[in-house]
Symmetry: C2
Subunit: 454 residues, 2 copies
Amino acid sequence: MSESDDQRLRERRAFLARAASVAALSGAAVGGAPRPASAIEARSDAHAFWGAHQAGIATPLQEHVYFATFDLTTTEREDVAQLLRAWTAAAARLTAGETAQPLQAGLQAVADTGHAESPTATYGRGQKFDVGIPAADSGEALDLKPARLSITFGFGVDLFSLKDGKDRFGLAAQRPEALVDLPRFPGDQLIAERTGGDLSIQACADDPQVAFHAVRQLARIAAAVTQIRWVQSGFASLPAPNQAPRNLMGFKDGTNNVSVADPHALAQYVWVGNEGPDWMRGGSYLVARRIRIALEHWDRMKLAFQEQTVGRQKYSNAALGEKSALKPLDLAATDKDGNPVIPENSHVRLAAAASNDGAQILRRPYSYNDGVNFTAERWPPWRQGMEYDAGLFFLAYQRDPRNGFIRIYEKMSRFDMLNQFVTHVGGGLFACPAGAMEGRYIGQSLFEAAARAT
Amino acid sequence: MSESDDQRLRERRAFLARAASVAALSGAAVGGAPRPASAIEARSDAHAFWGAHQAGIATPLQEHVYFATFDLTTTEREDVAQLLRAWTAAAARLTAGETAQPLQAGLQAVADTGHAESPTATYGRGQKFDVGIPAADSGEALDLKPARLSITFGFGVDLFSLKDGKDRFGLAAQRPEALVDLPRFPGDQLIAERTGGDLSIQACADDPQVAFHAVRQLARIAAAVTQIRWVQSGFASLPAPNQAPRNLMGFKDGTNNVSVADPHALAQYVWVGNEGPDWMRGGSYLVARRIRIALEHWDRMKLAFQEQTVGRQKYSNAALGEKSALKPLDLAATDKDGNPVIPENSHVRLAAAASNDGAQILRRPYSYNDGVNFTAERWPPWRQGMEYDAGLFFLAYQRDPRNGFIRIYEKMSRFDMLNQFVTHVGGGLFACPAGAMEGRYIGQSLFEAAARAT
């Protein structure tokens, strides 16, 4: 055994001991006695974490999202499993409105975060401060309610793929058929730094600080074995609970969505069934796309043109030709000249299940608003200047992306009149496994299957 | 008269006619019969727009802010006055929960936005759409409540300054003494693209879409005579109405703030009095700073070190050495060795009025969270990677910046232990004039004074 091998082994032993203590200290959530439920039940705006499905998928839309993906810097599958064990324990606490870890314990990270190397700081009259173990929780959510926080974990394609010809984590054989590489669609302008990732976390809450706080703690726990790849925050301003929000184009988003209150529709379109591997049954596939909208261009269009493009009336949300927003889309309706009332290349027609062999996806429609960039317009009057970096943070769940997003967007990416206003600049496809029952961790069945196979 | 002069005159005539119609069509808000108040009164979460002071200063903190500054592309003072007339009318509507302009009118912009040059678009079966006058309002706030929206206008130093030796708008003589050029402070890393601006708009609301919607409409109205310079969004997660939020460092922000419920304190520290020019009496000076916080660095610090740095206990918000958060700071307290309990270079000591000849400012403490950047750390363990571009969007109002922010921050920028974690990367100083009574527009007295002087 070489010296470096030896060192490596020692580091791994220390890591495993540490990781076990993370899970243990994060409460009895994983593999121990359940915590009393009273604290959770008392907080009516807390979502249950444990269950057959992960929360954050068929959960009524919360008003904010903070989404992050991570690249693994470790090469060991066991590290990934330990990370998910620690993340599960922390997520169960966070969604109940608690700190990620008990405050008394100090930060228990998966592997060493290197803080022991931090210097002793000296200030003022020569006081010295030992900067040893950092605080367990950054604290900005201490006084805030759970705010319906949900935390949803996903696995990227890269977790299962070969790197330099090597099966990175011994998971290639476990890759589900449905977890395909997304094709390149016409118009795609995906930026590598905003695309992909080994692991994803979607934190949704009615408070932006609660959502960010959750991801920040999970990133701290994982800092020694991961690196953040990209993040995106977003918001949805609901006129009333469960009412569809308007997106930044001013149109309602989600009118023809799969209903989260309809278990049959969810079973048909969202939850993976017996066709999937065991660990994905009850899970779902997430397609995320950061879609920049040229708001300045859109805002110069006439109302009637916007409505023809979308296929709906802007203010009332009724389909073109209808008086009420409650009337379903009538794609067969024609005007006196025989032309379709809802234009052939309008957004709602191309998105409709009837135009896509019945394909449906469950959208969680968030807007994002990331300030301004210096931009050279590609439309008249050809201005250059600061323009909004804002648009849609499109999150869609489905049972199988081949019969979901890919089927729908293949046609839409070529024909949708909206495309002249939007650009897909990032995103990814993530397999979000089934939920965990108390005592287990998210993704545990995947790692058990991999262990059995080797 | 040259051909270009002639053209210019024609354009200006068209502009003036257009601007007048903007104000007229934006309701009777400016110089006409008042609109019935019933619609406003019925919406209990609407702030009154008209009054001696602009709203958004001594207004209880709303949960979101969208801030923007604009550079004027026109060279005519009258254009600026017309813009403020149109902005005032639109702001009065927006804060009442209405669209910026009546939907029936189509967009009435100050000067021509160039949309007439847009081509006729052709799609699908050869349908043609006239893209003439755009929709009056982008529509994304149509179903939302006023959400306590406030809109606060400010004038940057550049509005009063010389450019290439020329008094840009004939306003140099009106520049208040208090509207100084902010000095360069130690550690300042101000980025030009995030700093300054001729005009500023602060839109605060309890809904991020309502705040952005407001600025977006005002920017549309102004597009032909301005260019956006920089924008910043932010949030404050209040545990309960009027309770101080925690910032992203996990500490309460605003405990020792000027109380917006105390008219005497406001008169002493916030509102400009007889010392100011007429148009600033009842107004206030805004210092904005975008302060990036190295959250990853901060998060690696031990709790006790964080508390020494800030001068407070993190979880309880009590001052160091105190049991209750209600106890005021005792800067004279010493420990058994005679050292101050609240360290000499701690943040709260340096910020306290007692350390600054009684200087106080009214802070509106928002956090910002703009994703991640690739960053090379300047502290151990010297990591490189994606790190949060997040921190504090510091907005502070004061009667005179020379006795406010400048006095306080001169010392703080040199000694505050917090400085190792924060970097000021942008901002500006803006003179926010008095409020407008119905029938007048924001800043009208300034333009009247300038007209009298010429």
